[in-house]
Subunit: 203 residues, 2 copies
């Protein structure tokens, strides 16, 4: 494909083909519904993609709920930013990174309290989008009951979007989801190149 990129005629043909595909796809895609999005995998971008979707939703005038699981001790750039933004309801689970607490009981309690906030939002159709950042970690460690989580997600308002992030998404969640992306690492400055976690990038 690439070798002919500069030929104007082939370019026009290719673009016309693309346009047709997009038009057909848009004609076929007529269902209006809330979408359940899952970002998983070992690469960078799962959470930041969720925060980017928050900006999209806010740009369309939606009210947004954000509940961050696990990461609680360090205040991240996105928390500092979104705490001051109107129409955002921001919660962070009580405890720090789990590898700092080493106390399962406290982690379970913190996760359950955070889920109470989520369950409330999942019953309230004034929230257009809810970001459940790193929820998959809490599920992985079985801090929360997976069936309860799936039930609450499934019974949410019809037009409500939910974005769930974190590696190792359980297969039952992937089945329930509408859109799933696997974000895999190709290279990572922090792990591979000895570059310190940088503000605005990792934090």
């Amino acid at each position: 494909m690439r070798e002919n990129a500069k030929d104007p005629e082939r370019h026009a043909q290719r673009m016309a083909r693309k346009k047709k595909v997009m038009e057909e796809r848009m004609a076929n895609a007529q269902k209006e519904q809330g979408v359940l999005v899952v970002n998983t995998g070992n690469g960078k971008g799962k959470s930041s993609s969720g925060f980017g979707m928050v900006t999209r939703a806010l740009g369309h005038g939606m009210k947004v709920g954000i509940v961050q699981f696990i990461k609680g001790k360090m205040q991240t750039g996105e928390e500092r930013f979104f705490r001051d933004v109107p129409n955002v309801d921001y919660h962070v689970m009580g405890e720090g990174y789990t590898w700092d607490t080493q106390d399962r009981e406290k982690d379970v309690e913190a996760a359950e309290n955070a889920w109470k906030e989520v369950a409330r939002m999942l019953k309230d159709d004034s929230y257009g989008l809810i970001l459940l950042d790193e929820l998959n970690i809490a599920l992985r460690y079985e801090y929360l009951d997976l069936d309860q989580v799936l039930d609450d997600l499934q019974n949410r308002p019809e037009m409500q979007h939910v974005v769930i992030t974190g590696r190792n998404a359980p297969k039952e969640l992937i089945e329930l989801a509408d859109t799933v992306t696997d974000m895999s690492i190709v290279k990572h400055a922090f792990k591979d190149l000895g570059v310190k976690a940088q503000k605005g990038v990792e934090l």
Copy 2:
């Protein structure tokens, strides 16, 4: 791993191990530098992850430049949102989706004009982070000279972060980058399930 998730002692051991790994990694990662991040692949989340990183950077008080390539005609949620945010310098390449124009000359001109904005930012260390959304598409179609792009990126201020998104990132760019994520599709509501592109999710 999962079957023992609920055993408190094993949990404490595992968390202690994780803590050690993180501490070692943080001790080894001492370089301070601007990071070049590339989000590529056929899945959802490449652009939204870039916009999430913008919120992180803003949360840390940085000035941010955003230049969107290709997508110019429809105003997206993120554009509506960020146009009003202080400390954000937002530019959208002149033309609509390329499959709407079918005129290579105009696309090249629009891309070159957009790159002039980028080149200016890449010489100005007051920008802490620059998002070049869908730049890979412009490179793929050879609207821009790849060597010039790589040169400008390489010669940017030492502490400046750059995030580049779009499928089919050229291998030379992947080589230059510090952190690369491949975002691959597992399933997609819009393509697979006939769900209309939803505000706050796709738009």
